[in-house]
């Protein structure tokens, strides 16, 4: 069974510090939903409010439409996977998995049967008698998932469960997690500071900053149509051009950047485009993969040139850094296969980008990296 989760105006304060502020979101039944944000932005706080380890200072948590106020974590239909997993080191793997059944008074044979079923689900059949410390990082990870699923929760809460794993394993576990979610069909609420994780696994993502939700949407919407400068720079890479508005035309804006004019989409806020005024300070965002070297085959509405600084090799991509003026660097990337031998250091390179790939947003704080 699965349930939806609704956060109504949740605020959590520690003293007069807001760890979460006015969080409003409805997470659908059976959805894989991620909270994405830098560390310290309040993700764990939100998860603890949902699981019941923490009472929000304001607002309500509804699970399956039921107000969870005053209901303890052991009575909620949720199950939490801790950032450090918190497996019980003195119990065997099977005992760990079946702990919630032991609590319910299920007899030993039945417990073992259920544990074995779950071990099969997480591809660890026959390893039930091992001690926790005999498992590898990825296996522990899966045991933690099995233990959390044994209680048959309606909502599974995951607190950066992959952060301790190395890159390859992390990528493998993403796929596995997603598959497990599909097969059990319950709501997963996943928190992470890793945008790759959030974008690949989730049905929807909520981007958080300093306790507030910046934007909620599907992965590609969040990536392609950021609504705030923070989202534009936290999710993926972006070049930020600080400009002034020259004129607006329907969904597009013409901006001035040090005398050069660019043409770009007007960014929107909750499906409604921002209302820009002439002379307003704005930021134009264009992603590294959307900037091209201008030649016969690549010619778009927006053109500028910059001095080549370095070319960085990143496996599948080459990142090319250029110096636009004393204050600003631009970065773009090309697939590794593209020949860059004709570019030479400190030489001006002519660049171009499409106005449909660039977004203009009102000025605001960027994500610092």
């Amino acid at each position: 069974m699965s349930a939806d989760v609704e956060l109504q105006n949740i605020s959590v304060t520690f003293g007069n510090f807001y760890a979460a502020k006015n969080v409003n979101v409805k997470i659908n039944e059976g959805e894989f939903f991620s909270f994405l944000g830098p560390s310290g932005c309040g993700k764990t706080t939100i998860l603890r409010a949902i699981s019941g380890f923490l009472d929000p200072s304001e607002g309500k948590v509804l699970i399956g439409g039921k107000d969870m106020g005053g209901i303890g974590p052991n009575k909620r239909p949720t199950s939490l996977i801790f950032q450090n997993l918190a497996l019980f080191p003195l119990m065997s793997v099977a005992e760990n998995i079946a702990f919630s059944l032991e609590v319910k008074g299920v007899d030993k044979i039945e417990r073992r049967k259920r544990a074995d079923e779950l071990l099969e689900l997480i591809a660890l059949s026959g390893q039930g008698d091992k001690k926790v410390h005999e498992l590898s990082g990825g296996q522990k990870q899966r045991v933690a998932i099995a233990r959390a699923l044994a209680i048959e929760p309606q909502v599974l809460l995951l607190d950066e469960p992959l952060s301790a794993l190395d890159l390859k394993l992390r990528q493998k576990m993403r796929t596995e997690l997603r598959a497990i979610q599909k097969s059990v069909g319950i709501t997963f609420i996943y928190i992470t500071h890793d945008q790759g994780e959030a974008l690949t696994m989730s049905d929807r993502v909520a981007v958080m900053n300093e306790g507030e939700l910046e934007q909620v949407g599907q992965s590609n919407d969040v990536y392609n149509f950021p609504q705030t400068p923070f989202v534009a720079t936290f999710v993926g890479e972006n070049n930020a051009f600080h400009c002034k508005v020259v004129s607006t035309e329907k969904d597009f804006v013409k901006v001035d950047f040090d005398g050069v004019h660019f043409f770009a989409k007007a960014g929107g806020d909750n499906k409604k485009n921002h209302n820009f005024k002439k002379g307003q300070e704005v930021i134009l965002f264009i992603r590294p993969e959307s900037i091209f070297i201008r030649d016969k085959s690549n010619k778009f509405e927006n053109n500028f040139s910059a001095k080549l600084k370095t070319i960085e090799f990143e496996g599948n991509l080459k990142n090319i850094y250029l110096n636009l003026n004393s204050k600003m660097d631009v970065r773009f990337s090309v697939p590794n296969a593209v020949d860059t031998s004709n570019l030479s250091l400190n030489k001006e390179v002519d660049l171009t980008f499409s106005s449909s790939k660039a977004v203009v947003l009102p000025s605001g704080p960027l994500a610092v990296d």
Partner: protein, 269 residues
């Protein structure tokens, strides 16, 4: 001392002489009593011995039951500043000498003592309770005397438990009692064993507290040892009795290790 316990009690002049042989006479005395006594066994000394052991075990158990919640509270519930305050208020009374502390308890528990006066004053009881004769004072005194040696190993052990495990257990539906039984106690067992052995050994070997607080007809085994050494000037017999106490203490430690399945290294840590 082990050697001394197997030698007869001789005046200094005869030591090293032909009479100074190894003998079990002192151990015999413990079991069968003096040759002049009518009884088959030395009921008095054996009685005192087992009473001491039994009481020491009881005191250890009371101590554990009393200290575990305090240690848990300090380690996992209280804020750091509260638990610091608690630790200090636990330690300060122990700056005072053990003998003085025992006398302080005696004043509290005496027939005309503070506790009786309060109980009588509030009308909870009609006649004063003789805490000393009931050995309540003794148990309390012994329990209190080594409380720190129980609390600190427990505190250290519980402190090192990852708090997320407590939350994980709760999240999986576990009740408080089960969480303690399945998670906290197994984690803290080395600390429990270490606290119990220390408290047991020191309680069984205590002298000042029993002297001050025991009822006139309760003897502590150490009091007997003391008598043999000092009043009767029989060092050999005193040694033999000490060895007996030492043996039982070591046995107890080994037993604790067996029960809790911990290694000696873990206890000392």
């Amino acid at each position: 001392m082990l050697d001394l316990s197997f030698r007869p009690n001789l005046p200094p002049l005869l030591r090293g002489g032909p009479d100074d042989v190894h003998t079990l006479v002192h151990y015999k005395h413990f079991i069968f009593g003096s040759e002049t006594s009518q009884d088959k066994f030395n009921y008095v000394d054996i009685g005192v011995f087992f009473n001491t052991i039994f009481t020491a075990i009881l005191v250890t158990v009371i101590n554990l039951c009393f200290c575990y919640p305090i240690a848990f509270y300090m380690a996992k519930v209280a804020s750091p500043s509260t638990s610091r305050l608690l630790i200090i208020s636990l330690i300060i009374p122990f700056w005072i000498n053990e003998l003085l502390r025992s006398f302080a308890l005696r004043i509290l528990f005496a027939g005309e003592g503070v506790i009786n006066n309060v109980l009588l004053g509030t009308g909870l009881i009609d006649t004063g309770i003789n805490f000393i004769a009931q050995d309540v004072a003794l148990y309390t005194g012994l329990t209190y005397a080594y409380i720190l040696l129980m609390i600190f190993p427990l505190y250290n052990a519980i402190e090192s438990l990852d708090s997320n495990q407590l939350e994980a257990a709760k999240d999986l539906g576990s009740s408080t009692i089960r969480t303690h039984w399945r998670i906290v106690i197994p984690h803290a067992k080395a600390g429990i064993a270490s606290g119990c052995t220390m408290v047991f050994m020191l309680t069984a070997g205590a002298l000042a507290t029993p002297v001050v607080l025991s009822s006139p007809n309760t003897y502590w085994f150490t009091q007997l040892i003391y008598q043999w050494f000092n009043m009767n000037d029989n060092w050999s017999r005193g040694s033999a009795y000490s060895i007996l106490l030492l043996t039982i203490s070591v046995t107890f430690v080994l037993l604790m290790m067996r029960i809790f399945k911990v290694k000696i290294g873990e206890i000392i840590r």
